[in-house]
Symmetry: C2
Subunit: 339 residues, 2 copies
DNA sequence: GCGCGTTACTAAACCGCGTTACTTTTCACT
DNA sequence: AGTGAAAAGTAACGCGGTTTAGTAACGCGC
């Protein structure tokens, strides 16, 4: 920096002011130009660590993905989320640190990032319930935004309305005349996305005056297509086979579809199926999957924006943002065939 | 740190030695324990920026994805790659900075990360040809590993053998008796993955003594399913329709399949199709897509490992690692039907 | 021609927080 | 008394941010 100052014929202070565009300082346009020219001539760039040390900011946010490697492979959302978050934070010249953490929430997996001041805030995708680590950090006023339903009220979050969306999906099946409607969860029930979608399924059935039977509810513990496959196998073995299935994620639906087709049944003639997520490739499945569309990129953008506001000490209102979903009707659902 | 030293009744120097587990220093087990206890009592964590400033290392590598947001959405590889890289670098306690850069290679998009010492090395996924920025950085001995074919020889890289793999895919079609085999590229030809797969297609045809006709080669400029769809439409309009298609990516194949099915034709009865990539959901397409399987996670792991070696001043041999692919035969290919 | 307030800087010092090389002390053991 | 291990202590970095005090030139009004 001293060299730049010498080259431009100014002081180090002036160089710092120019580079930071510090407000309330008077520096002539000519001098500013000389400084920038010197910076260019010397190919100078300020060391990130030094700036960070001096300012107390890391200009970095962590994107914490609570998934194990296996799940990561079939995560159709990742690209969209990352893209959205990156867009939102790049405006403030922030960068993104990617971190995948398993479900076991081992001690301080991401707390360290905050405590060493490596990141200024956290975006957490898919937290488990009872995440005490998260609660403690929030109590210490660490900027945190959750993608999904937060564990406790005060946490900032961006999500879709899983209950309402699931209700819409199931209502669609009811409207088509189906009565024996099964449900396969997208993951274990300690994940709120899973339990909320199950709740939406229940509500839709009850609203329609239909029974909600445990035998038609399959808890898939894995988030994977394989889990959907196995769950569907169980459903197909029931004496009174369901005529429609609400699979709480597209990936799970893919597994279920395979099971159905392997059993020699046809979609939607024999069984209708609705997914959830509308991952980019859902429309290429034959038959095209009817599903709930989630605005993935927007989820990322809003989360990024909220986090930046928190970091800048300007708490966003409201705490919890719910983005709209919509039912995309393709060809995996059809009216109940009287038999 | 001084407080920790006081609490443990030792000097700051000793605390540093203990925390770093510095070799060639003699510190008794009892003292080490006292230091750790003090760290725990005070809930102390060293500031990342200060360490980075003192050591000259950022313990961070950048993962640079050369894709625009739209492409990101349909990138089935991202999860696997990130997972692999993260695994490989976490052993050395490194973290990953995610950065998406478009194709226009605007000035210094990632050079800044290096020059400000924000990262110690770069992993670049899908570079364009003629990336002078990359060349300059490599000349300055910046640790760089490319996922894909590098622009110039000396660059370190991990890739699959696109030429050979494409040859295998096309050979499979030839073995099934097909003669009119079309090709849809996965992207523009300035991407080496695209031009190499085209080259493999050419070689397979030539080896078999078959003509290689331009009309059967469709350059898809977008990397997307939509591009595959449009390319296939052109192929279907040809007077002598191809009986088989080699689509250079699964996503492109999905688009092509839609075009084929919309035209009222059947796969594989009327047209066989082979993809490339074997993205996790490729098997769920009906009919299951025959494709070239790429070991995605391994690509990430090897890239991460090589980069860590470079950072530690231990240049990996060889420069260029080619991972094996394999043909996965599902149900989108069948013997040529005599007609 | 004087006084006064701006404007446009400079100089110097301190700060943030560990790392690391080098010197010195303490103390147990032979 | 001599030796080596186990530390303590000191101080110099690394690099930019920020503040304080001060200087010099300039314009303006009267």
């Amino acid at each position: 920096m001293q060299q730049v100052a010498d080259e431009a014929g100014v002081s180090r202070t002036t160089v710092s002011f120019v580079l930071n565009n510090t407000p309330n300082v008077n520096i002539s346009a000519a001098t500013r130009a000389r400084v920038w020219q010197a910076v260019a001539n010397l190919n100078y760039a300020r060391t990130f660590a030094a700036r960070s040390l001096a300012t107390g900011r890391s200009q970095t946010v962590a994107f914490i993905l609570r998934q194990v490697p296996d799940e990561l492979l079939v995560n159709g959302f990742l690209g969209g989320l990352l893209s959205g978050v990156t867009q939102a934070i790049s405006a403030d010249n922030y960068r993104l640190l990617f971190e995948a953490v398993g479900h076991d929430a081992s001690a301080g997996a991401y707390t360290e990032l905050v405590r060493t001041q490596r990141v200024d805030g956290l975006i957490i995708s898919g937290p488990v319930v009872d995440d005490t680590e998260l609660r403690d950090l929030h109590r210490e006023s660490v900027p945190i935004v959750v993608n999904g339903k937060p564990d406790f009220e005060e946490l900032y979050s961006v999500d879709v309305d899983n209950v309402a969306s699931a209700r819409t999906a199931v209502q669609h099946l009811i409207d088509l005349g189906h009565r024996r409607i099964a449900h396969i969860t997208n993951g274990p029930l300690n994940y709120t996305a899973s339990s909320d979608r199950l709740e939406g399924y229940r509500q839709a059935l009850l609203n329609a005056g239909l029974p909600c039977e445990d035998r038609y509810i399959q808890i898939n513990p894995t988030f994977t297509d394989q889990g959907g496959y196995e769950a569907m196998r169980h459903l197909l073995d029931l004496p009174e086979r369901p005529t429609a299935v609400f699979a709480a994620s597209d990936v799970v639906a893919f597994g279920a579809i395979r099971a159905i087709q392997e059993a020699g049944l046809h979609i939607p003639a024999d069984i209708s199926i609705v997914g959830f997520d509308d991952i980019p490739l859902a429309s290429y499945l034959a038959p095209g999957l009817t599903t709930i569309h989630i605005p993935v990129v927007q989820l990322g953008v809003r989360a990024g924006e909220m986090l930046m506001q928190l970091i800048q000490g300007d708490p966003p209102v409201p705490h919890r943002v719910l983005l709209e979903t919509r039912l995309v009707i393709r060809h995996s659902t059809a009216p109940l065939r009287e038999s």
